[in-house]
C-alpha cells in the first residue's frame, strides 16, 4: 500500500496514479519491455488461477504462458506482448484458462507491458456494435446540444443498466455542473447541481484525459496489492484495474454509491466533461459494454465539439452584429448618444452584460442593470487611480476593490475601457454575481464518516462549503472576443470623439479668422466712412455760420449735422458689435453699485428729464468684463429712460437679487412698453420695433446687449405689456 496518507488538506497532491494496488475485479501481470520478465503481479492472481504471485514474479513471461496454457487451448501471451510493443492502443483478447474465460487487455506504457485479466460473463456475447449504431443515429437526430446530451444519458443507462447516468460538464473554473441526467424514478434528481472543482481534483482530471474510461466496480470490495521486483512504484495511469483513491472511495460512500463508471468527454483536446454513472449496489461492467460506452463517449464528444463551436459562434455573431450596427451608425456621423443607445440597439449588447455605463465628453449614458451612480463613481475613482491599461476586466471585483461587495449582485464582474483617464471617462460593462443561478450539490446535513482513527474524512458538506467561497461575488468570465470587441468599440468612439474635437477646433479657427476679418473690415470701413463724414460735418457747420446764407439754408445745414451725428453713432455701434464676437471675456467681480450710479449720473445729464424718478435697489456683484457689462446696463437704462420720457413721472428702477447659483437683475420702466410679438425681434441687429415714434436709436444697442450677455453665458428676456412698461430681466450664472 502507498505510504501517502491523504486527507482534505493534501488531496490535491495525492499520487493517485501509483496506488500500489488494484481493484479486485481482475488481476494484473506486468512485464518489462526489454526483458519480458514479470516485474509486478497482483496478489489476487491466487483467487483467479490458484497460483501464488510469488511463484510468478521474476519469471520470464514464457514460463507464465506455459503455466496457463492447456493442451487444448494455447494462450500465446508472448505473441500478444510482442504485438503490444509495436502499438499505442490497448488490445483486447479473449483467453480461456482451464474452464474460465477472461478478457485480456494489453497495453504498453513506459518500460512496461500491462496484462489485465478480467472475468468474462457468459452473457457478454451480444453484438454491442449493432446496438451502438442504432443508438447513435437516435442521439444525433436532434440538433440541440442539450437534447443530444439528454438522449445520450438515457441510452447509456440502457446500455450499462446503472441506476443513474449524469452528464457532467466542467465549467471555466473547473467546477462541474450536471447538464443531463437519466435515473431511476425513485432517485432524487441531480440535474442542474454544481460541484466544486476540488470534488474532481486536477490530477484526477488529468487521468480522465489519459484514460478515458473508469470503472469502480464495488467501492466496498477490498483492493489487491501488487507484488514487485523493485522499489519503484508502478505507474497505473492507463490501467483499467487501477485502485481508487481512498478519498474518492470515501466520497462515493458518502453518496451511498456502490459502483461508479465514467467516460471522459473531450472537446478540442481538453476534458469537457464526464459521463458519470452511479449504481447503488455493486455492478460490474464487462469489457465489451465498456467499449460500447467509450464509443458513445467519442461520438458525443465530437458532437459537443461541433455544437459548442456553433453556439459560441452564434453568441459571438450576435454581439458582433450589435457592434457592427453601432459602428456603422457612428461612422455615418450619427450623434454618439443616438448611435450607441436607441430603441433598436444598445451598446450594452456588444458583450454579454446586464448593464453598461459610459461617460464621454462630460456626458453620461447608462443602460440595463448597473450599480448606483455613487457606486459607479467609486469604481471610476479606483480605476483612474490604479489601472493604466486601456482595457481592464475582472470577474471578481471584490478581490481588488473590497467595497464592491455591496453591489456584487449587479456587478461582480466589470469590463472597463478607458476613454480618458485624466477626465475619468470610461465605458464599463457589468456582469451580475454568478452564484444566483447555482443549486448546491451534496447534502449539507449528511453525517460525516469517520475513519478507523476517528478522523473526519471528506464529505459532501465540506465540498459544499468550499464551493460557496469559490463562487461568491464572482461573475462569469469575460471572453477574449468580448474584450476584443469592447476595445474596438472604445477605439471607434475615441476616433469619432477626436475627429469631432478637431472639427470643432478647425471650425473655431475659421470662426476666429472670420471674426478677425470682420473686425478689420469694420475698423477700415468705419474709418473710411468717418473721414468723408468729417468733411461733410464741418462744411455743414461752416454753412450754418455763413453770414451770406439765409435762415432756411442754415436750417438745412443744421439738419445735415443731425444726420451726420446719427450716422457717426451708428458707425461706432456697428464697430462695437463686430468686436464682441472675438473678445475673450476676462471674468472679474464687478462692483455694480458704483457701475450703476455712474450710469445714473450720465443718463441723468444726457436726457435731462425733470420728471425722471430713477431708483437703484440691491446691487449684488456680477462676474464679467467691466466695460461690456457697463455697456449692457448703459444701453438698457438709456432705453428705459428714453422710452418712458413721456410718462409723468417717468419711473426707472434697477434692482438685483441673488441665490446660490445665479444673480438676476431687472431694469424696469413705465414707458410705452413692447408688443409681446416683438420680444425676440428687439434683440436682432437693425430691428427697431418702435419706429413710428420719435425715439432715437440705431437698432444696434439691444443686439450688442444680447451678444455681450451671450458671451457672459447670461440670458436676457422681456416682461411687460405695451402701454404699461417693460421689464428687462438679466440672469447671470455664478461660476466657481
Amino acid at each position: 500500500m502507498s505510504k501517502f496518507q491523504a486527507d482534505l488538506s493534501n488531496c490535491d497532491r495525492e499520487p493517485i496514479h501509483i496506488p500500489g494496488s488494484i481493484q479486485s475485479w481482475g488481476f494484473l501481470v506486468v512485464v518489462k519491455v526489454s526483458t519480458n520478465i514479470i516485474q509486478y503481479v497482483s496478489a489476487n492472481i491466487l483467487d483467479y488461477l490458484n497460483i501464488t504471485a510469488g511463484s510468478v514474479l521474476g519469471q520470464p513471461l514464457s514460463a507464465f504462458e506455459a503455466q496457463i496454457s492447456g493442451r487444448e487451448n494455447k494462450n500465446p501471451l508472448s505473441a500478444f506482448v510482442e504485438a503490444a510493443k509495436r502499438k499505442q492502443e490497448a488490445e483486447a483478447y479473449e483467453v480461456q484458462i482451464e474452464e474460465t474465460f477472461f478478457d485480456l487487455l494489453i497495453h504498453t506504457f513506459g518500460q512496461h507491458i500491462y496484462l489485465e485479466f478480467e472475468s468474462k460473463s457468459p452473457l457478454s456475447g451480444l453484438n454491442i456494435h449493432n446496438q451502438i449504431g442504432r443508438h447513435v443515429s437516435n442521439i444525433l437526430a436532434t440538433n440541440n446540444l442539450s437534447d443530444i446530451l439528454d438522449r445520450a444519458a438515457v441510452i447509456i443507462k440502457q446500455l450499462i443498466g446503472y441506476d443513474r447516468v449524469m452528464i457532467y460538464k466542467f465549467m471555466e473554473d473547473a467546477h462541474g455542473k450536471v447538464v443531463a441526467e437519466a435515473r431511476n424514478e425513485e432517485l432524487d434528481p441531480f440535474l442542474g447541481l454544481h460541484y466544486p472543482a476540488s470534488d474532481i481534483p486536477a490530477q484526477a482530471r488529468q487521468l480522465y484525459k489519459l484514460n478515458k474510461m473508469r470503472l469502480i466496480a464495488d467501492v466496498n470490495a477490498p483492493t489487491s496489492s501488487l507484488l514487485a521486483m523493485t522499489d519503484v512504484p508502478l505507474d497505473l495511469s492507463h490501467s483499467v484495474l487501477r485502485a481508487v483513491s481512498p478519498l474518492h472511495i470515501q466520497y462515493l460512500k458518502n453518496m451511498e454509491v456502490a459502483s461508479s463508471f465514467s467516460v471522459s468527454l473531450m472537446c478540442k483536446g481538453e476534458l469537457w466533461g464526464l459521463i458519470s454513472c452511479h449504481h447503488y449496489t455493486p455492478k460490474f461492467i464487462n469489457h465489451r459494454l465498456r467499449e460500447g460506452a467509450r464509443l458513445l463517449g467519442q461520438i458525443i464528444s465530437s458532437s459537443i465539439e461541433f455544437k459548442e463551436e456553433e453556439m459560441v459562434n452564434a453568441e459571438q455573431k450576435k454581439h458582433k452584429a450589435v457592434f457592427e450596427k453601432i459602428i456603422s451608425e457612428l461612422r455615418t456621423g450619427t450623434d454618439i448618444k443616438d448611435a450607441v443607445l436607441n430603441p433598436s440597439v444598445s451598446f450594452k449588447d456588444i458583450v454579454k452584460a446586464e448593464g453598461v455605463f459610459m461617460r464621454y465628453e462630460g456626458r453620461t449614458l447608462k443602460d440595463g442593470r448597473t450599480p448606483s451612480e455613487e457606486q459607479i463613481e467609486s469604481i471610476i475613482q479606483w480605476l483612474s487611480e490604479t489601472k493604466e491599461a486601456s482595457v481592464f476586466q475582472t470577474n471578481k471585483l471584490v478581490d481588488l476593490l473590497p467595497a464592491a461587495k455591496e453591489f456584487a449582485a449587479v456587478a461582480s464582474g466589470i469590463l472597463a475601457c478607458t476613454i480618458s483617464r485624466e477626465l475619468r471617462e470610461y465605458i464599463i460593462w457589468f456582469r451580475p454575481e454568478y452564484m444566483q443561478s447555482i443549486t448546491w450539490a451534496g447534502n449539507p446535513e449528511k453525517p460525516v464518516e469517520l475513519d478507523e482513527k476517528g478522523e473526519q474524512r471528506i464529505s459532501p458538506r465540506k465540498s459544499f462549503e468550499n464551493f460557496r467561497t469559490i463562487v461568491e461575488n464572482t461573475a462569469e468570465r469575460w471572453k477574449a472576443y468580448e474584450q476584443h470587441l469592447a476595445e474596438r468599440f472604445k477605439e471607434e468612439l475615441l476616433y469619432i470623439i477626436n475627429k469631432k474635437a478637431s472639427e470643432i477646433r478647425a471650425l473655431n479657427e475659421k470662426l476666429k479668422e472670420a471674426y478677425d476679418e470682420l473686425e478689420t473690415f469694420s475698423s477700415t470701413i468705419s474709418h473710411d466712412l468717418k473721414t468723408p463724414l468729417a468733411v461733410i460735418k464741418s462744411y455743414a457747420q461752416l454753412l450754418e455760420r455763413n453770414k451770406t446764407l439765409d435762415d432756411q439754408g442754415k436750417q438745412f445745414a443744421a439738419r445735415i449735422s443731425v444726420g451726420i451725428q446719427r450716422m457717426n453713432t451708428l458707425i461706432a455701434e456697428v464697430l462695437d458689435y463686430s468686436k464682441i464676437g472675438r473678445a475673450e471675456i476676462n471674468f472679474q467681480p464687478i462692483d455694480m453699485a458704483s457701475l450703476l450710479s455712474t450710469i445714473k449720473n450720465e443718463v441723468g445729464t444726457a436726457f435731462n428729464n425733470p420728471n425722471l424718478v430713477f431708483s437703484i435697489g440691491n446691487t449684488p456683484p456680477v462676474s464679467g468684463d467691466q466695460t461690456m457689462i457697463y455697456q449692457v446696463f448703459l444701453n438698457l437704462i438709456s432705453n428705459a429712460v428714453k422710452y418712458s420720457h413721456l410718462s409723468v413721472p417717468s419711473i426707472v428702477t434697477v434692482e438685483g437679487s441673488e441665490n446660490e447659483f445665479e444673480v438676476v437683475y431687472k431694469v424696469e420702466d413705465n414707458g410705452i412698453g413692447i408688443d409681446p410679438k416683438h420680444y425676440n425681434k428687439v434683440f436682432e441687429l437693425f430691428k427697431r420695433v418702435n419706429v413710428q415714434s420719435d425715439y432715437e436709436g440705431t437698432g444696434v444697442g439691444l443686439a450688442i446687449v444680447k451678444r455681450i450677455l451671450e458671451k457672459h453665458k447670461a440670458t436676457i428676456w422681456i416682461e411687460g405689456r405695451p402701454g404699461i412698461g417693460s421689464i428687462f430681466w438679466i440672469k447671470f450664472r455664478k461660476f466657481e
Partner: protein, 121 residues
C-alpha cells in the same frame, strides 16, 4: 494774435486738407498742406511750423511713425502735434506716440480751432 503762426497739416485725404486749412486760415493762421507723409519732414524743415495737425492712417508713412520720428529729432522735437483720426483707438496711439492732443474725426469746428489756440498760446 500778432505774429502769424504757421500750422502744418498732414493728411492723405484731400477733403480733410482743404477743410482744415480753410477753417484754420479763417481763424487767422497760415497753413501748409502735406498730402504725402514722406514729404512731411522736408516741409517741416522748410516751413518751420509752430503746430502740426497729423492724420494717423496714411498709405505712405503712418502718422504715429511720423510723430515718433519728430520726437526723436532734437531740432524739431518740441513742435506741438495734434493727431487727428477717425479710428477708434486713435487717441491711445496718439498718446503713446507723443502727441500733445488728439482730435477725433468727425470733429466740431470750434474744437479744432480751440486746440490750435491752446497749443499756440
Amino acid at each position: 494774435m500778432n505774429n502769424t503762426k504757421t500750422i502744418l497739416i498732414c493728411d492723405d485725404d484731400e477733403g480733410i486738407l482743404d477743410l482744415v486749412s480753410i477753417i484754420l486760415e479763417e481763424s487767422g493762421f497760415q497753413t501748409v498742406r502735406v498730402q504725402n507723409s514722406f514729404e512731411v519732414f522736408n516741409q517741416i524743415a522748410k516751413e518751420n511750423p509752430d503746430l502740426i495737425f497729423l492724420d494717423l492712417w496714411m498709405p505712405q508713412l503712418p502718422g504715429d511713425q511720423v510723430l515718433k520720428t519728430i520726437r526723436e529729432d532734437a531740432a524739431i522735437s518740441d513742435i506741438p502735434v495734434v493727431v487727428m483720426s477717425a479710428s477708434r483707438d486713435g487717441a491711445q496711439i496718439a498718446r503713446e506716440a507723443g502727441a500733445n492732443d488728439f482730435l477725433a474725426k468727425p470733429f466740431d469746428i470750434d474744437e479744432l480751432v480751440n486746440k490750435a489756440n491752446i497749443l499756440l498760446s
